[in-house]
């Protein structure tokens, strides 16, 4: 499809493929630091999502090819696979992929009509249903015990497909957010100087920072290509950083972690550039996108600081998704020539 006088030539499937492509730097970093498990998770989640979507297409009486052609199931699967712990048991990714399509996406009307981000809905479902399995992240490559080596395809497959037999405790390590969550007596500086995650890291925690930078890099690519707008990511990252500053408590032991930690660990960058920018579940106007981004940033911080989970992206995204219809209603941009801004214009819906 080429650019003509009547059409730009940009098609939806191309947009989706670009998004999938932009996750590559992050995936490479994940694989390098946390083993090949990520690739298997992506395959499992994507496969489950696409098969489910094909079945639903058949139920609707469509050809599965037309529904799969838009590439959105691929993107959902990839994002879910990235978000899952690389050594999570196989049925997590599979049930997540099925849930994303069969519960979060198609009952709402399919592509473009889903209220919730399908990948995050699936992730949140898995997180509340199987908290233990969802908490096992392997240690980043430099911090693996001497007895263990990089989790190649074989050892990762063992952990994933034979979870009962594999001794995954040997290779797991607390995530940086969990470290801060469990901290009770150490100043931020002491923690940064003593905990191996931080002593080996340049900006925040080793491994995690690189993965975050990978997603940041991919996100910038999408921004430059004009496939996402800057409003939601920037609002989210700025809000998160400001809150981290505000509650940093001067680096005391009560600190919720410095801004660098919040920006470069957990799912912050993935969320900011790949999750909340999902247009189907994001507000429509620029102002609405800013509000959504800021709200997600606030909720991510709130869950991390005061909630029951070390990372809160999935919940933050879902709660923001819930608010989108309301945000959309009050952030309708005014065409030029309109003087009054009707923030609270009544309606008849």
């Amino acid at each position: 499809m080429t650019r003509t006088a009547t059409h730009s030539g940009v098609r939806a499937e191309a947009v989706m493929h670009q998004v999938a492509l932009a996750t590559l730097p992050g995936i490479v970093a994940l694989t390098w630091y946390f083993g090949a498990g990520t690739l298997i998770q992506i395959l499992l989640a994507t496969g489950a999502a696409m098969v489910t979507e094909a079945l639903i297409a058949r139920l609707h009486g469509h050809s599965p090819r037309t529904l799969l052609a838009d590439g959105s199931a691929l993107v959902t699967g990839v994002l879910l696979g990235i978000a899952l712990p690389p050594i999570a048991p196989w049925w997590l990714a599979i049930s997540g992929g099925i849930f994303a399509m069969a519960v979060a996406k198609h009952p709402f009307g399919g592509l473009g009509n889903n209220l919730f981000n399908p990948a995050m809905a699936a992730y949140a479902m898995l997180l509340v249903s199987f908290p233990a399995s969802m908490a096992h992240w392997p240690a980043p490559l430099p911090l693996l015990p001497e007895s263990a080596s990089w989790l190649g395809l074989l050892s990762a497959s063992n952990a994933i497909f034979l979870p009962a037999a594999a001794d995954i405790d040997a290779v797991t390590l607390a995530t940086p957010l969990e470290v801060f969550r469990g901290n009770s007596g150490l100043l931020v500086e002491q923690l940064y100087n003593t905990h191996p995650l931080f002593t080996a890291g340049d900006l925040a925690a080793v491994g995690w920072e690189t993965v975050s930078l990978g997603f940041l890099f991919g996100g910038l690519y999408l921004l430059i290509r004009g496939l996402i707008s800057w409003h939601a990511p920037v609002a989210m990252l700025v809000t998160l950083a400001l809150l981290a500053l505000l509650f940093g408590d001067g680096g005391s032991s009560a600190s919720q972690g410095p801004p660098g930690l919040h920006l470069l660990s957990g799912a912050t960058m993935l969320g900011a550039f790949f999750i909340i920018t999902d247009p189907a579940s994001l507000a429509a106007s620029r102002m609405g996108k800013l509000v959504c981004g800021a709200l997600t940033g606030f909720l991510v911080f709130a869950v991390r600081a005061w909630g029951g989970y070390p990372d809160g992206l999935a919940f933050a995204v879902l709660l923001t998704n819930l608010c989108v219809p309301l945000i959309d209603r009050y952030t309708i941009p005014q065409p030029p020539g309109h003087r009054r801004r009707q923030w609270l214009g009544g309606g008849d819906q």
């Binding site: 003509t4 006088a5 009547t6 052609a69 065409p335």
Partner: protein, 561 residues
């Protein structure tokens, strides 16, 4: 000088303009038959009349219709008009002599008052040739205290080069037309010509012609749709036109270069507007070109002149690539608003819709009026008129920039055009329902007042609590108030007056009922009967009240509690 404002959004499609700018504007031999749609005008000629070029053929509340050439009027017929409709049209068979009607002569400009000049402009049929087609005289008359005249030479839509070539070839005449427009507007302080920077020859020609005048020629970046009226005004002046108002009301008038040229022909030479430049282009035309076309020329004639290959053509479009509409019947004629006809190949047409909206929001990024097409699309599908209004559907200029970028290939602009019509119909319906409701509620109030009055007929101390605007009830209210406040003697007098008034009304209504012609439809007759009945009740009530009052006057007053 450069742009003062900026265009929000917009797109930059390939323009394909060089295809039709290689040769000068061509004049074709006259077609065998001209079809002149009447619109709301009424014919002033009969079949068989021989008319000269420029003769008045039809006139009416809108623009008049003139003969584009000399020839014989064959009659009137229902013919295809525009992209997809039909209308009554005068058929004119050219005699090939192209002889002017003897009454056509140049008006004496200096003897005419401004309003006479405007009348001359209107009767010459001058209209917005950029696509609006609205009477230029009326556009000018709708404003006052003009401070800026803007001449639109942007021609921002792909393929179209009619204005470009007109500016290249007729720059002096256009400047002369602009000077006339300046006079019509009462000497506005500034006059600006906006031309997109992909037309360097036209810009240079206009600059040369505008030397030693106050007229400024401004070259603006090529970006669609910067040639939209409001977009161009904002670009050149930085002034946003208030919503719901026309630029004229802000003292700014925007005229297309072709309109200004027609103005010059009309006021200097006395020629009514009967022809225009039309671009014929597209991949299925082997010889894309611009033609001077008399109105009424069928598109088939133009397409044949530009070596149109029907086999290669996947779609005929009336208008430009962005805003044009599929041409249903190519026998339809060129009219004032025809600036372009395109014969596009399959690869030049917009793609078919492949899937539903994915809400990517690319459309809202390019929308020049900051709408949210992704929201409007959904709301239009579900016909949520209130929400469509709140999302400013009426502000859509139907430029089609959203279509251009939509990755799902959704024809958004067409959907919005239809939705605007549906919204207007919905508003009319709502207004009518509102009127009906008001009437019904008034009726309910009357009935309630009646019931109330009857119920309290024997309670001497009560007063009606349902004042309604109706005369009968007002009488009752007056009676009650009189009774409460005035001494018995004046109360009785007031009640007597009410009895007289009600019986008078009853008689008049009865007379009217009797005098109704036999042909009166039954509903109307029934309505009058109901009013008679109502008047009778009023009268009986007034009588009853009077009787009560008389009894009361006779008996000693009751102690009040």
């Amino acid at each position: 000088m450069s742009a003062r404002g900026h265009l929000r959004g917009g797109v930059q499609p390939p323009t394909h303009k060089d295809r039709s700018t290689r040769q000068a504007i061509e004049t074709l031999p006259l077609p065998p038959l001209l079809t002149l749609p009447l619109g709301d005008a009424r014919p002033q000629v009969v079949a068989g009349t021989h008319v000269g070029k420029g003769a008045l053929l039809a006139t009416g509340p809108g623009l008049p219709v003139h003969a584009p050439t000399s020839g014989r009027v064959l009659g009137m017929e229902e013919c295809p008009v525009g992209a997809h409709s039909r209308g009554l049209s005068i058929l004119l068979e050219p005699d090939g002599e192209d002889r002017w009607h003897p009454d056509i002569h140049a008006p004496n400009l200096w003897a005419l008052t401004p309003s006479e000049l405007l009348a001359a402009v209107h009767s010459a049929g001058i209209a917005g040739l950029g696509g609006g087609g609205f009477s230029t005289a009326r556009k000018i008359a709708a404003g006052e205290r003009f401070h800026t005249l803007i001449v639109n030479g942007m021609e921002c839509e792909p393929y179209i080069t009619a204005d470009d070539l007109l500016m290249r070839e007729q720059a002096t005449a256009i400047i002369s037309g602009i000077n006339l427009a300046i006079r019509l507007l009462g000497q506005p302080a500034r006059t600006l010509i906006g031309i997109e920077d992909d037309k360097p020859e036209a810009t240079a020609a206009m600059r040369r012609a505008a030397e030693n005048t106050e007229i400024e020629v401004v070259s603006l970046p090529t970006r669609y749709p910067s040639g939209g009226e409001r977009q161009l005004i904002t670009l050149l002046t930085g002034i946003p036109i208030p919503a719901g108002e026309r630029p004229q009301q802000s003292g700014i008038l925007c005229l297309n270069v072709a309109t200004v040229f027609a103005l010059e022909r009309a006021l200097i030479f006395g020629e009514p507007l009967t022809s225009r430049v039309v671009t014929v282009s597209g991949g299925a035309c082997d010889r894309p070109a611009n033609f001077w076309v008399p109105f009424g020329t069928p598109f088939t004639y133009l397409l044949a002149a530009s070596d149109y290959r029907p086999n290669a053509c996947a779609g005929l479009v009336l208008g430009g690539a962005m805003m044009g509409e599929p041409l249903r019947d190519p026998r339809a004629p060129v009219t004032r608003t025809t600036h372009c006809v395109l014969a596009l190949t399959a690869s030049e047409l917009p793609p078919p819709q492949t899937q539903p909206c994915i809400r990517c929001g690319l459309c809202s990024e390019v929308c020049p009026v900051a709408l949210l097409p992704q929201q409007l699309h959904r709301l239009a599908q579900t016909q949520q008129y209130g929400a469509l209004e709140r999302h400013y559907l009426d502000e859509c200029i139907e430029c089609g920039a959203c279509n251009y970028v939509c990755p799902s290939g959704i024809p958004l602009a067409k959907q919005f055009r239809d939705a605007k019509l549906a919204l207007a119909a919905h508003r009319a319906e709502r207004a009518r329902a509102g009127r009906d409701r008001t009437r019904f509620e008034a009726h309910q109030a009357r009935v309630a007042a009646e019931i109330h009055a009857r119920r309290h007929r024997h309670q001497t101390d009560s007063s009606p609590t349902h004042p309604t605007p109706r005369a009968g009830a007002a009488d009752l209210a007056a009676m009650a108030m009189a009774r409460a406040a005035a001494p018995a003697e004046t109360q009785r007098a007031a009640l007597e007056r009410a009895v007289v008034a009600t019986v008078d009304r009853l008689r008049k209504l009865e007379d009217r009922l009797e005098q109704l012609p036999a042909s009166t439809p039954e509903p109307q007759r029934n309505a009058l009967r109901a009013r008679v009945e109502q008047a009778r009740i009023d009268h009986e009530q007034a009588q009853a009240r009077l009787a009560e009052q008389r009894q009361e006057d006779a008996a000693p007053p009751e102690p009040r509690t």
